[in-house]
Symmetry: C2
Subunit: 429 residues, 2 copies
Amino acid sequence: MSKSEINIGLIGFGTIGAGVVEIFNKNQDILSKKCGKPVNLKKVADLDITTDRGVKIDESILTTDVNDVLENDDIDIVIELVGGYEPAKTFVLKAMENGKHVVSANKALIAKHWEELISNADKNNVRFSFEASVGGGIPVLQPLNECLSANRFEAIYGIMNGTANYILTKMSEEGLKFEDVLKEAQDKGYAEADPTFDIEGHDTAQKLIVLTKLGFGEYVPQEKFHVEGITKITPEDIEFAKNELDYVIKLLGIAKQTNDGLEIRVHPTFIKNDHLLASVNDVFNAIYLIGDFVGPVMLYGQGAGRMATASAVVGDCLDIIFNENKRISYGPVESQVKSMKNIDDIISKYYISLTAVDEPGVLQTITGTLNKNDISIESITQKTNIDSESVPIIIVTHETEEKNIQQAIQKINELKEVEEESKLIRILE
Amino acid sequence: MSKSEINIGLIGFGTIGAGVVEIFNKNQDILSKKCGKPVNLKKVADLDITTDRGVKIDESILTTDVNDVLENDDIDIVIELVGGYEPAKTFVLKAMENGKHVVSANKALIAKHWEELISNADKNNVRFSFEASVGGGIPVLQPLNECLSANRFEAIYGIMNGTANYILTKMSEEGLKFEDVLKEAQDKGYAEADPTFDIEGHDTAQKLIVLTKLGFGEYVPQEKFHVEGITKITPEDIEFAKNELDYVIKLLGIAKQTNDGLEIRVHPTFIKNDHLLASVNDVFNAIYLIGDFVGPVMLYGQGAGRMATASAVVGDCLDIIFNENKRISYGPVESQVKSMKNIDDIISKYYISLTAVDEPGVLQTITGTLNKNDISIESITQKTNIDSESVPIIIVTHETEEKNIQQAIQKINELKEVEEESKLIRILE
């Protein structure tokens, strides 16, 4: 930037906002030196400017009037940390229209209004950066969009929700039930009071939308792909998969090019214990990319939290200050996606867990049903249960089409010998 | 860049050079679309232009005269893949003086002539990019220098040599001796005929120099820090550490801020099996950073090889085309290093392996020596060996200063009961 100093306005003085303030408190010297001019946090707007956020702040920069940021001619870059759709969207658009560059961590907004936000930034000749929206502090969008842009991508796999990963890790390590770990996570502040967004996969889906656009040049709204959460996973599934199959379970966002089109989906997934993603535990996130030249690359770190996310937000500000005139293409200019592949058409291995009455011939009926649907079985385990008349049965299939599995499961669920709805978990090979 | 098309000249048509040609053969369309103008590989210079490199190339762009690149007014960016110090250095400096941006993968050159190369690029107002010099295809320098630049770094740990990591992985998995795995790696092409550079840690050291400059703002030449290779590691060390201590061994480059200054060192290191770096196997590389805001971040991928390294080289070209006027600071503007800490002053846990005669009182003599040097022992294991009069002894210490350990080891080696030179392996906690 050609100005002699750079002023930043922050909207939203919540958790991440307080982290941004803390970076300016602690590291403003290195920011300013790196940029060769003072970089100042000039205004911080929030409806609530009285609650103590646990950070030192010059009270004169606090304001309850968002226009002190949006309409302030001194401000060059607006950081939007309001979250959600409105009024965040109005703020972002207005900032751009007023010639301000915008940095945001708001994946919900970006995933939903991609085209409008990007084209508004283009029209107003300002930068719009959102590294913090995917993977929190992990450098992922810039590496994907810049360092690795000589590649065509084959696949992107992401563990992108810290709450879900924390819950699955705890369930795996301590054999606890989903509900119990969720409760503990809520008590510790790792999960929201209403955790739906995290545990049902919506948060992962929004991040996957951003990655899919940057990796494959295709914007795919959430209603166009399969999104499934982790609420039905039991300690028994996890333990069986660990002990008998050497799998661990992760909530994965997957975008994958195949000869028949792009697959995009979010669901709990078993992965081999020796896959590097299997070692990504607790609240940590990782994005695993496969490029045609670079091969596999994994980017790992804290996917959320005050300090890590603020690191990415301020990193974006520095990138704008350094490279105000950077010509940005958000992903490949043309979509590299020939067609979208429906979840029914994906090919996967499957783990099926069901409960049946303990009678002769039950296994034969079930395997017969699978057989009729062209499903070949890798292993089948019937556990004996002396205290009960029903037995758990675990089936692992070879690779097959999802629609075959879905048809077979429907038939199996209709069998009178089968007592509970069968559960399906996809396996990543 | 404002020109209507961009021409790239490549010097050095070896393994990585052939990879660059392959990227242009396969992905030139996405490169040109992303840049909004044709991006051409205009000239490829090498002394040998007749040997088949296994890639399709328009023979009219091949030349044996390096000046067809360096003095060619049509060429905007020069890729230097000659390797080594000379004539690579002369080529790089001349390209810059002729107003050409330079991309290089030459860590030896960059680590040794950092100041001269950077200041020459500055003086000639051209970009000098070298993402491929550290971690091959892994995006690491740009993330470190840009995305994460709001942080002060606490530590950088790197597994940065594929050959050494392949050898240690094979030794660990198959219980093989160093010499045997090295031979196998040479047969497979994973190790050079003269592997000194890789197995003695020099390659890791050069990469660490680049990371230290970018992470801490301090250029530390190789003669100023401790560099130790992997040749003395035995299958017995690895097996004992795995089974008894839950450690794995990696050749690490370490740069770490402490209250007493910056530690920088390269040596084989035991790390806990549940550390993410422990899962980085075979020829893969990973750089593990800890920033004061972002916390730990790991960047993982293929650290060498034709395709992956070429991905980083071409990624650098795209970055230059996009952002020709990017204001680059190579790392923090001012050094964040108050003083350098000598290896004698580091604090670590240690693994000591020695062989002593099987006599009463030996253990007492050895532990007494450690005790006198203020070294507290975490565990000591004497293996019985019925076929021999000597026994192997393994000691794991609590944290202590390196100089205490070195003094103690010297005394222990002087004991008449100790038969072979004791071996020391540092443990990362």
